[in-house]
Symmetry: C2
Subunit: 433 residues, 2 copies
């Protein structure tokens, strides 16, 4: 795909399934820089740096995989209340690269912090020495290949020189493009809300687009806010929201070694500090963070490899939330359901199969299955008004909603996914995509 | 595909990945009959009856799905020590068809037993009245569609008339073709062994070929033997063997409502009856049943929808068998691993990803990953002799072996699967395939 910024307004960046992305703008305390250090054969930005000039409080959630990449190991060790930046590279996951891969990050963090400290001096910032352990790393790309340490080291100076203290929508698009791998669309989302009397911004970008399941996508998701909020509170807010957003999407049931979703708060909005998650002044903020995270998560699912349709799977009225989640994901991960949807076939029998194999408690004579607004299976029987022609027509939509009503409890879950197309195979059978 | 028997010797029925099937022959006490009752638009055999003229002891294992088809409900209720036949239809799964679907089986069993009893009289068999509850049903096809009761009822007389007391390889092929849905190849296997001084035969046929996971494929698998063995012993033998055969294959991680594997023993080999599973005289027989079941299971995986390659996944030296199984299936079910293999890309990073996401205990610095005979990742490091060119060459084989050595315990598991090709999507996105 063409990564040049000239395509910014191109309709191919729009995603009609989840709406065109909003324009992101300046966010105080954040700087963005992107460069190409030649990780791809064809030149494109592959290194993106988000810099917090005066630091930011922060929180992250990481992949649940038992094999994690070296940068996730690095990030997990960070105990600093304030961090100064996150460096993202594509093409190489720095996973299964062992101590060598870890040491590369060490070297890069030392060099980058030095360059940043020199820049602070030349910019006449108030002295605020940055330690290597105050920088995070996000890596995405092929697992098991040697980490391109020197290519990155060689481009750090250029990267720091290009830091822009003011963002506009173009630099955000560049950043969102710069973190992409097999994604076809940049993923951006924003919201504004109040904490007390202060208006705060919440900006987010993300990437997908394979290995998106179950505990967060291979998603890299970064949320930035100018709100003044402590790291422990950010952590609570992230944990509250992750379950129904990034942990509710699946592409192929595969989970990456590199998943992470982080939130950074620069504090520049200068709202009065909030002490407790229960403070009602936080309510709007929590909702807005959820909105941004859900919007990004949907964009990741909608742009899953080879996707032609965006699928929402609701499971209602189950005995436990675990059962509702298992059923939703059993449907959302079923290759047979997903390829039937690609073929626009209302093959509800495969939905029933996926319900059955989930292992969740279900009573056949209470079970109902809907596709879109149409009830097909109604409490254990084919609905007498079911008209396959109507549902076939509905299947031509870009957005498909499947709803399963178990009618045996009160718990619900919603999962998001895409269909399984021939293009998925094309993308993933391509030698080392 | 062409279901005509003329294609019997056609090379397309051969499966070079698992070897051409053996010729099955006469098995005393078994009769086979096949007819077309017009369930498909294009005429083909769609109803196959295996008849035990003097009854057979029997045992079955069924799908673990929480939503099971009406014929599985029927079979689960059978308490008779001797059964007289199993009727298999394709095209319709009789699942989620409710009491109406169940009552269809009742009617069919009543009519079929009557016809068989009349045949016994006209054949001057010793009087042995067959009850409806001594007939089993296997159904495979679309879930949720009305069961074609009358089409089947109308063809029972024809089916009974066509019963042949002598089998040859042609009738076996006809039977194996008659139970197929999207399979491309009939699946047959055989073995002979001794129980005491008597030679006994073990013949098996099976079908796949989507929804093959995890507790047995959507496989219908039927094993027939002329051994004289009681139903309780058959049940123990089936349970011993199922774990490493039909429960070790996966096609797409989907599980059917209709899975069943049954074993029937006509007793005609007249071996002295065995009382205990521990009797050493049974050892050969247990091994031979395993051989037939494994051969059939491999054929099912090898002919999984759209398969171009047969994949064996070994997980060695894990702490528990559960972990070994989870890792093997996590790899065998990963769309990313399977599409890389389709693309002949030795993308071992995706194997690592699948190991990590399995949730099984793994130590990175003890982990080794092999593709074929080549070690790639050697106890936490890329092996120093790893040559990607060699492994790329190996990937062109039809048979691909992946081996994961955890080196932290002594438990092993082997799973079998196929690659994920564009044809899988083609088959499964076809309207109501």
């Amino acid at each position: 795909m063409d990564f040049s910024i000239n395509n910014f307004f191109d309709k191919k960046y729009k995603d009609s399934k989840v709406g065109h992305f909003q324009d992101l703008d300046h966010l105080d305390g954040l700087s963005i820089s992107t460069v190409s250090c030649g990780l791809y054969e064809k030149k494109r930005d592959d290194l993106v740096f988000f810099y917090f000039r005066e630091g930011a409080s922060h929180a992250s959630v990481f992949t649940q995989s038992k094999l994690i990449s070296e940068n996730i190991k690095w990030n997990k060790k960070i105990r600093e209340k304030k961090v100064y930046g996150i460096l993202t590279n594509t093409k190489n996951a720095n996973a299964l690269t062992g101590i060598e891969g870890y040491n590369s990050l060490k070297k890069i963090s030392i060099n980058l912090s030095k360059l940043l400290n020199l820049k602070q001096i030349s910019d006449e910032d108030k002295p605020n020495p940055i330690k290597p352990s105050q920088l995070l790393f996000a890596c995405t790309g092929t697992i098991g290949e040697k980490f391109p340490e020197s290519k990155i080291l060689n481009n750090l100076e250029n990267l720091v020189q290009k830091i822009k203290y003011n963002q506009n929508k173009l630099i955000w698009i560049k950043a969102a493009l710069g973190i992409m791998t097999t994604d076809t669309k940049p993923k951006l989302s924003m919201a504004e809300c109040k904490i007390g009397t202060s208006i705060v911004k919440i900006y987010g970008i993300a990437k997908g687009s394979g290995m998106i399941f179950p505990n967060m996508g291979t998603t890299l998701g970064f949320i930035f806010t100018d709100a003044n909020i402590s790291s422990p509170l950010l952590k609570q807010i992230l944990n509250m929201n992750i379950k129904t957003t990034f942990n509710a999407i699946t592409c192929d049931g595969d989970t990456s070694t590199n998943d992470m979703v982080s939130i950074f708060a620069t504090g520049k909005a200068n709202n009065r500090e909030i002490k407790s998650i229960k403070d009602t002044k936080l309510k709007q903020f929590i909702g807005s963070v959820h909105q941004v995270m859900l919007n990004l998560a949907k964009r990741v699912a909608s742009d899953g490899e080879g996707a032609t349709k965006f699928i929402t799977v609701n499971c209602k009225n189950s005995i436990s939330e675990k059962d509702a989640k298992n059923i939703s994901f059993s449907i959302a991960n079923s290759p047979l359901v997903k390829s039937a949807i690609f073929g626009e076939d209302p093959n509800w029998g495969r939905i029933a199969m996926a319900i059955g194999k989930s292992g969740a408690k279900v009573k056949e004579n209470k079970l109902s299955i809907f596709i879109g607004p149409y009830i097909i299976y109604n409490k254990g029987k084919l609905d007498k008004n079911y008209n396959e022609e109507d549902v076939s027509q509905y299947m031509k939509n870009e957005n498909i909603v499947i709803t399963v009503d178990l009618s045996i409890g009160q718990k619900n879950f919603t999962a998001y996914t895409m269909d399984l197309s021939k293009e998925y195979i094309e993308i993933n059978s391509d030698y080392r995509s």
